[in-house]
């Protein structure tokens, strides 16, 4: 199971406590045997609604709370002087495409979104189909994953996570954002002025550097 948690920091935490956060996360695989891989990425300028870091974890089995309940992380959050809150989702990998498993020094982008609960199932599936066709049109998307969250594993109001990995930031900021498939076909699902819109206005759009693929973790 994968866990993705957006880390919202307290205002101006000390550098020492930020170092503590990074050390705690880095130590999770040693602390919790079920945690296979972990990554903490500091958000780049331009992110919206998702805090300051993305914490990615790959967990053996279905217990995502193995990460969230790790004593060192719990203590750090409970101390209240560095982390304001975690915004986590968990899910089994569903739709994943890793075209470039050896990608290095890339940018990993994460979008949390909420589809309105009254949306018919076939409309949600069509939305997912349109989203997942983006890599067919936008070559800069090297690796991607589209997932429905599992709120029974970790409670959340987010319904979907749409993740991509790019060779560099311009892949996201230029190729992805400026592509006509994006603004011409995908954006209407998010646009309150479009009748086909099914996605809540509030999203978390974040991206961070990653030394290697996260979506391709095994």
């Amino acid at each position: 199971m994968r866990l993705v948690a957006l880390v919202h920091l307290r205002r101006e935490p000390s550098p020492a406590r930020l170092a503590d956060l990074e050390a705690v996360v880095a130590g999770l695989p040693d602390e919790v045997s079920a945690v296979r891989r972990v990554h903490l990425g500091k958000h780049l300028p331009g992110c919206v609604g998702g805090g300051h870091y993305t914490l990615d974890a790959l967990v053996d089995g279905g217990d995502a709370n193995a990460v969230l309940g790790a004593p060192s992380l719990r203590d750090l959050v409970d101390a209240g002087d560095v982390v304001e809150r975690l915004d986590p989702v968990a899910f089994e990998p569903q739709h994943v495409s890793i075209a470039e498993p050896a990608i290095e020094n890339c940018v990993k982008r994460t979008l949390f979104l909420r589809v309105f609960p009254e949306t018919p199932a076939d409309v949600v599936e069509e939305f997912e189909r349109v989203i997942m066709a983006m890599p067919d049109h936008i070559d800069a998307i090297r690796n991607w994953a589209c997932s429905r969250t599992d709120p029974t594993a970790v409670p959340t109001s987010w319904t979907h996570v749409w993740e991509q990995e790019y060779a560099d930031k311009s892949g996201l900021e230029v190729d992805y954002m400026m592509h006509p498939y994006h603004w011409g076909l995908v954006d209407g699902w998010f646009d309150p002025e479009c009748p086909q819109r099914i996605v809540d206005l509030v999203v978390a759009h974040v991206y961070c550097p990653a030394a290697e693929t996260i979506l391709g973790w095994k």
């Binding site: 011409g184 954006d187 646009d191 002025e193 009748p195 086909q196 206005l201």
Partner: protein
């Protein structure tokens, strides 16, 4: 990057053509212009008002993709949501399409 065009096709309830044109002119157009949308034109079909209800077709333009996202940054405004909610009472169905120029000759 060439201009982006937005095509609105609105199927109106019977007898609502004038009311919709009025609210579009007074309630939507000023804000749309502030968000960078230029009104290219608006048309009704059939070309006379009919008992079954008319369709109003409106074409907007934006000069660039950057202006598109600037326009979108304002599309979540509460007053705009109120306008759509109220004007949709006059509407049977509608669609919004996004377009770029196409060469046909």
């Amino acid at each position: 990057m060439s201009a982006i065009y937005i095509l609105d096709r609105v199927k109106l309830r019977p007898g609502q053509l004038q009311a919709y044109q009025q609210t579009l002119r007074e309630g939507y157009l000023p804000g749309a212009r502030k968000r960078g949308m230029e009104l290219i034109g608006s048309w009704t079909t059939p070309p006379v008002e009919v008992a079954e209800g008319n369709e109003l077709v409106t074409l907007w333009s934006l000069p660039s993709i950057e202006s598109f996202w600037a326009m979108r940054a304002g599309s979540g405004a509460p007053e705009l949501a109120t306008w759509w909610e109220e004007s949709d009472r006059l509407v049977e169905s509608r669609e919004r399409k996004f377009m770029t120029p196409a060469e046909i000759s």
